[in-house]
Assembly symmetry: C2
Homo-oligomer: 241 residues x 2
């Protein structure tokens, strides 16, 4: 909790584009640009892409007058509290991840947790999410779904995870959503075709919001016969029956 | 699959606002309004709120020249294929639900599934989602999370569901997300305080994007002592440790 005599700033969670192609204004509401222009302190996953995003929001932003903290998988968690110091002093902070919505599948969540535990106001803004947009486009159950991040790399753990997903689809009617390192996407599809029942539905949603967006739902039996190439493309995978 | 000589239309999934207060332009990108203006056929969860949304998008839209199909929990699933007829004839179709993103927690998913099985292109647009924005603002694990819709009403099933959620938080580090009928929100918070361990973190995200937005994460021990009133307010609940 903060001292009630010091009004704290707000932590704005600023989504960015999923795809390099295309106009930011196709994926972000106008208000996001207005808010970005008013922020002087940023916590960013990647400094270079965050600067590029800010320049795309408004060419007139003077990047050199802004303060940036980097928060990624290499950051020592002990450094997080000091990133909140500007907010405790009354300044707003913008959080920017490499793609999509901050704090959903990146280290921004630790910063938000630290802000919440100090009573600092957190404000998520609207933007593109491959998880949500993949789910919308899949036709799968949106009343119950789970996102699992990356499948385990270890082969036995991977098989066990896929078995458990199959069980949750059948017992709980829970849509299963996951991702893969992009250069392994094709191998993952082959593996799903080899290990899942023919009738299981697989949705592959690729380059969402990009020029080559493709969201295709087919049973495994049809994926087996289909030509595809998702290698190195940002892609999300969904399973249901 | 469609006859390759007939180019089919696209099914646009058009998010709407979560809250009645506030400007649509704060929650939807500009491109959404441009796309809406070009669509003549709509599948909507609620006719009245869909008309109001279209008028808010653009006062000059002549609603009476548009064709609407209603798709909600009372719709016979056998009627869904005919709703896709305009798309098979080359027209775009807009899908609009009562709040937030279509096909995520409403019957639009069945329409999308029917479109996918016919090879009709599906295009989700960006918009506000209380699930995603609640997750962003909670500070909880966004690498692994599950949305369960409503908790069961039956008391034994409800307790079992909460126990299973607790297990998935502890074993899988999976954030648990759910909703309640708004008039029962306060009773749900009391129940969570009574049945969950003191150290469990509960995030209550209320009126997201609205004037009274409040996203608060606290351990159960602190919620027990806190004053709150979420009755009749659109609210989403998240659990983690």
């Amino acid at each position: 909790m903060t001292d009630s005599t010091t009004p704290t700033g707000t932590i704005y969670l600023l989504p960015v584009a999923l795809s390099d192609s295309g106009d930011l204004r196709c994926v972000l509401p106008d208000i996001n640009f207005t808010i970005v222009r008013g922020i002087r302190f940023f916590v960013v996953e990647n400094l270079r892409s965050a600067r590029r995003f800010l320049k795309k929001c408004d060419r007139s932003i003077d990047i050199d007058t802004l303060t940036f903290f980097t928060l990624n998988e290499h950051t020592n968690p002990a450094e997080i509290p000091e990133m909140l110091a500007p907010a405790l002093a009354g300044n707003d902070i913008g959080v920017i991840s490499e793609a999509g919505c901050p704090a959903v599948a990146d280290p921004g969540a630790d910063l938000v947790a630290a802000a919440q535990s100090r009573g600092i106001r957190v404000m998520p803004l609207v933007g593109p999410s491959s998880i949500l947009m993949g789910l919308m486009g899949s036709g799968f159950n949106g009343q119950s779904f789970a996102f699992a991040g990356y499948l385990p790399v270890d082969s036995a753990a991977r098989t066990a995870t896929l078995k458990e997903m199959e069980r949750r689809i059948n017992r709980e009617r829970q849509t299963q959503i996951f991702i893969e390192t992009p250069y392994r996407n094709n191998r993952l599809v082959e593996e799903l075709c080899r290990t899942l029942p023919d009738s299981m539905l697989l949705c592959i949603a690729s380059d969402i919001t990009g020029e080559n967006q493709n969201i295709t739902t087919l049973p495994i039996s049809k994926w087996k016969k289909r030509k595809y190439d998702y290698s190195h493309k940002p892609t999300i995978f969904l399973l249901y029956r």
